[in-house]
Amino acid sequence: MSLFKYAPAPESRAVVDIASSYGLFIDGEFVDGTGTAFKTINPATEEVLSEIAEASTADIDLAVKAARKAYVKVWSKMAPAERGKYLYRIARIMQERAREFAVLETLNNGKPIRESRDVDVPLAAAHFFYHAGWADKLAHAGLGSAPKPHGVVGQIIPWNFPLLMLAWKVAPALATGNTVVLKPAETTPLTALLFADVCQQAGLPPGVVNIVTGAGSTGAALVSHPDINKIAFTGSTKVGKAIAREILGTSKSVTLELGGKGANIVYDDAPIDETIEGIVNGIFFNQGHVCCAGSRLLVQENVHDEVLDRLQRRMGQLRVGDPMDKNTDVGAINSAAQLARITELATTGDSEGANRWSAPCDLPAKGFWYAPTIFTGVTQAHRIAREEIFGPVLSVLTFRTPAEAIEKANNTPYGLSAGIWTDKGSRILWTAARLRAGVVWANTFNRFDPTSPFGGYKESGWGREGGRHGLAAYLKEGEQS
């Protein structure tokens, strides 16, 4: 019973103007799709927000042709510094329209407005600013004196960070001189369509960015189109493997950012209060819909009970509910399908003998919700320790020695992220050097910056995004002739 209850503080949705239907963005204009239009909803309320065109194989062909024409006639011939100017312009417009993007992202994705406002949108703009600077400096990227773009890039992005993943994909592709056909996720197309509006506002030459909406079949048509030079995909490992098979024997390049089962390792000398915050951030940020989530907590056995006590107390304070409320910490699950997946995997935790504890919270009646949950008594043999849940569910395991922590952390088909919590600098370095994970955070978690490369080992993917390393995904090495 709290004396200090926070009154509702809803962000206004008046700033966004959602059309009743949207077409495809091809060659600089919105055109009707020839597939079967589908509805997009607000997962927090199940309210229908708009009707979205589905791109058929023929529509994909039009988009790829537009991108090819823009590549050959305009973008590949443009002076690099001029390309950079467009990216700067896009970045500035994204900042100017930040509130619009944040509200739209929250409405369509279900994530708290605090996160879309403070994380997704500022980071998305930062990616455009960062890559704008690279556009005329590619000769210094370590890829030869005259690296060359691939040409037309097909990009497929997930629903967990719709705008941010768009930025991760589009910004480096454009900076390096490629043109783009991008397919946003089926459940979260709205901010990508608003981005199309930004492209128009920035005067980006038609065809440089094309946005085709649809589900899996649209994505498959994009991947198999013969005039695509490169595929960049972020999503599930299952689809990633299918894409890898599809492009076998073709000349297409590919980068894949796939699943993860990140280990968050807590040593007994960790700064305890900040560690608890890091655990919470690691698994409940964005409802756990994070490929690099710290979904496996590996805690040194001698501090297990204290860590769990503090974690449960802290989870009791998480504010779960209306994503548009500025004080909400945990929002809605993105879709009914994802909720079913989380529920099913968590149920295996129960049936395989792990102990479930959920934060006490009232969940709204409509929409898709899952209470923040932890499982203790989890071992490497549990499915919830091996499979990616992609939801607000944390599996807690213990270890006795640093060597055992490393063995357990690496004993996974994935290798995207890991966290280390200790007050001892030498132990951070020792541990990080042995972890087979693309990103290792020390005494923090889920920190992102455009200058820092991101990507996975093993089944977590191929290639890196961000930083100088990320440029390599969009360039072929070349020398000045």
Binding site: S2, A7, N443
Partner: protein, 322 residues
């Protein structure tokens, strides 16, 4: 009473156990603590919750004047303000206490009593405030003077030099002696221990000093004298609130927290209340366990209070000088 908490947690009586205990406290990660405090600073407190927060904050203020230029006239004006913060609105809560140097305690007590402010407490800064650089005899006499003049709360400073040189035992002994000088039983003066966090600098030091003061018998731990900057920053208050929370978990005792210095706006005050609410819980949202040492803050709270009730902003001439 303090002895119980101490002996339950610490072996031995020669203070080597105290040093070991303090050194073994969990460390604070600077980036993480500052990040948590900043995140809590984004809480949006509106309408009814804002009205509650403003009135709660007013009732928690230790209305303070600690200047060489303080006079009886100045202190009496402050007392009048404490009793009637907003003369145009009788529903405005009174502040918790007046905080002055010990030579002004008698003036404050007498004037408060004469204007119907018997419920407002008088706090005296003591122990060679603000530097704490004097012998223990002087510090004890300073404390006794204040209590004899009618102070019911003593805001003492710790010996930061002793703390920073690792002489935790000296700091501990001084606090316990001042606590004894505060009296006993019903009439015992409440002891607030000022850590002067701006001179301790690191959050690890803030955590250790918090525990040290609580183990030695502090009723409140207080951030700052107001003479050193930075003072009551949000992460410092967060670390102190965590210490208080953990102390309660281990001893069952509730210790108060008093941020002082640098809290000037309603927004800052509400952020402090959010820190309390989400770190130790709403049990602490009472003047018995949370105080805000301030002077100019009160008028900003009053302006915001008027805005909430009238719907429009007034101006500086619609709140009173003190």
């Amino acid at each position: 009473m303090s002895g119980t908490a101490y002996s339950a947690l610490i072996d031995g009586t020669d203070h080597s156990g105290l040093s070991r205990f303090l050194s073994a406290l969990p460390t604070v990660d600077q980036v993480g603590a500052e990040g948590r405090a900043a995140m809590l600073g984004t809480r949006s407190i509106k309408t009814t919750s804002k009205a509650y927060a403003i009135d709660t904050a007013i009732s928690m203020i230790d209305l303070t004047t600690l200047e060489g230029s303080d006079t009886p006239g100045k202190v009496r004006a402050l007392c009048a303000k404490a009793v009637r913060p907003d003369p145009t609105d009788a529903s405005t809560p009174r502040v918790a206490a007046i905080c002055v140097y010990n030579d002004m305690v008698g003036v404050a007590r007498e004037h408060l009593d004469s204007i119907g402010g018997q419920d407002i407490r008088v706090a005296a800064v003591a122990t060679a405030f603000p530097s704490g650089r004097a012998s223990i005899a002087v510090k004890l006499q300073d404390t006794r003077d204040a209590i004899n003049a009618g102070a019911t709360e003593i805001d003492m400073v710790i010996d930061r030099g002793a703390f920073l040189s690792g002489n935790y035992g000296k700091v501990f002994d001084e606090i316990t002696q001042i606590r004894q000088a505060c009296g006993s039983g019903e009439t015992r003066a409440h002891l607030k221990v000022i850590l002067e966090t701006g001179e301790l600098v690191t959050y690890d030091n803030v955590r250790r000093a918090s525990w040290l003061a609580m183990l030695a018998g502090a009723d409140f731990i207080k951030t700052s004298t107001g003479k050193i900057s930075p003072a009551a920053t949000a992460p410092v208050v967060l670390v102190m609130l965590e210490a208080v929370r953990d102390f309660q978990a281990r001893t069952g005792k509730q210790i108060g927290v008093k941020p002082a210095g640098g809290i000037r706006s309603t927004k800052d005050a509400i952020k402090q209340l959010v820190l309390v609410n989400e770190t130790v819980g709403s049990d602490w949202l009472t003047p018995k366990l949370f105080r805000i040492g301030a002077s100019s803050l009160l008028n900003d709270l009053l302006l915001q209070r008027q805005k909430l009730s009238s719907g429009h902003y007034s101006g500086p001439n619609y709140v009173t000088l003190d």
